[in-house]
Amino acid sequence: MSMDAIRCPNGHVKYPTHPRCPECGEEPVETIDLSDRTGEVVTWTESTATPPGVREPNVLAFVEFDVEGTPVRALGQIADNADVETGDEVEPVYAEELREPGVGLKPADADQEWDGYRFRLSQ
């Protein structure tokens, strides 16, 4: 498992991956794994009304990574619903199941990964 972003020939870095760069339409030339980097919380929320199969409450954050001077953001759950604040430094931590597969609208075998990375405060 990795947390793949793309870089295009014009230097744009985007997460998640797309067949073409959303900013300039060029084909990506490189994949960058964000899972071993640290990022900063841009904003966050604690959601108390969650859909079927999702933990309740669910603390979520936008996290910004700095990839050699280029910012790229990701959305993710905060591990253990820990207290976070804007500006906190966090790091990705792998989780096998972010929500229960197949309980909501999407079937378990849909075009949908169910594992991925949460964020925890940097050690």
């Binding site: 985007k14 997460y15 998640p16 959303p22 841009v42 904003t43 966050w44 929320t45 604690e46 959601s47 108390t48 009304a49 969650t50 859909p51 079927p52 199969g53 999702v54 933990r55 669910n58 979520l60 954050a61 936008f62 953001r73 990701a74 959305l75 993710g76 759950q77 804007t86 972010l98 929500r99 909501g104 609208l105 999407k106 075009d111 949908q112 990964e113 169910w114 594992d115 991925g116």
Partner: protein
């Protein structure tokens, strides 16, 4: 063919928790619109049905066919229009195109959604299925995007939390004057600020409800409108734009690019600017969205919309009333109906049929937002 596009009639069912299913809701608004416009069913060339998810909500698809058949519109061209929460606005765009292009001389637009039977969790999950798989797996909901955006806005622009509550208070107050609204109940700022947290810092009263309902509008060329109505509205500008599917990929979380781009297109087509807009319906699915749209449409400077609300400028007696209908907040938000219902409120304001909500307006604007700003339609209408 350069035709001016007119709106000569409209209707809206009671919004709220309804026993009727989608076919009945659409037929109710559609039939009332035919009557209001004084148009016989066989005069209708095109019918567009705005709806996000009748298949997911109640297992009924093909609803454009149902509407055309039930209202006696055969053999009119029929099409369902889905653009998630902006399906209604996208229907306005389709209806406008059909008249503008000369393909149709009489177009009925009906928007509707039946949601309440799924409950909050089920409905929230259907709506959350619009997100990218990389977002969906984290259990994100549209309200959570609103919570993250609101926190960022308040922290960055040093806006008081109370200003968001004031949006809810204002729109609920307007809703008391709208007999079709889901809620006709004033709320206080204290009540809004003490309501349960849904997506911190946003609370229950920052969110629109889940709603059943339908709305309709009748479109035709101005030359035909003259035969049917003394007072009507024209669509003088309309624009549609799309922003990123993945919400966190936007450079500035407080800027909805689709609002900015669709608004600029509509202003340009109408040949007017934001200062010319007398009344507006904005997509207040969440209170914070009213600020983002006011700023995206240049009603207010960046980070300053909250001041307009604090100063009462957006109230029904302010210099530019916003959401005289009660907005999605108080009127309710049956997904596919909302953009049509926004257009209906502006139409009523322009032809002087808004009753207790009537304001002095020659030019009105409706901004219908799909997803979390993913797709946006802005429409400008003028009184004739």
């Amino acid at each position: 063919m350069d035709r001016e596009v007119a709106i000569i009639g409209g209707s809206m069912t009671k919004f709220g928790q309804r026993d009727a299913w989608i076919r009945e809701l659409l037929a109710e608004a559609g039939e009332e619109c035919l009557t209001d416009a004084g148009v016989e069913p066989d005069a209708v060339d095109h019918v567009y049905v705005s709806n996000m998810a009748s298949g997911e909500f109640e297992g009924q698809t093909g609803i454009m066919n149902a509407v055309a058949h039930d209202l006696g519109l055969l053999p009119a061209y029929s099409q369902r229009v889905d653009q998630t929460s902006s399906s209604g606005g996208a229907g306005m765009y389709a209806a406008w195109q059909s008249i503008k292009s000369g393909a149709s001389d009489m177009t009925l637009l009906v928007g509707g959604e039946k949601m309440t039977h799924k409950g909050t969790g089920g409905a929230t999950d259907i709506i959350a299925s619009i997100t990218h798989p990389a977002e969906y797996k984290h259990g994100v909901t549209l309200p959570s995007f609103a919570g993250m955006t609101a926190r960022h806005y308040l922290e960055r622009f040093d806006a008081p939390r109370e200003s968001l509550a004031k949006v809810a208070v204002k729109n609920h107050e307007n809703g008391t004057r709208n007999p079709k609204a889901q809620f006709q109940k004033e709320i206080t700022e204290e009540k809004a600020l003490e309501s349960p947290i849904i997506a911190d810092p946003l609370r229950l009263y920052d969110f629109c409800p889940i709603t059943d309902g339908s709305a309709a509008l009748m479109f035709c060329p101005v030359e035909v409108a003259e035969e049917y109505a003394d007072d009507y509205a024209v669509v003088s500008g309309i624009g549609g734009a799309t922003d990123t599917h993945v919400v966190h990929e936007r450079e500035d979380p407080t800027t909805m690019g689709g609002v900015v781009d669709s608004g600029a297109e509509a202003y340009d087509m109408a040949g007017i600017g934001p200062e010319d807009v007398d009344v507006a319906e904005l997509h207040d699915m969440f209170t914070i969205l009213e600020f983002l749209q006011m700023e995206g449409l240049d009603f207010a400077g960046k980070g300053e919309a909250w001041k307009h609300v604090e100063e009462g400028r957006t109230a029904i007696d302010g210099d530019r009333p916003i959401n005289t209908s009660g907005g999605l907040k108080s009127k309710g938000h049956p997904l596919g109906a909302s953009g049509v219902a926004q257009g209906y409120e502006i139409y009523e304001q322009l032809v002087g049929e808004a009753g207790e909500r009537q304001v002095d307006a020659e030019t009105g604007l409706a901004c219908n937002v799909g997803g979390f700003g993913n797709c946006v339609i802005t429409t400008i209408m003028e009184a004739r």
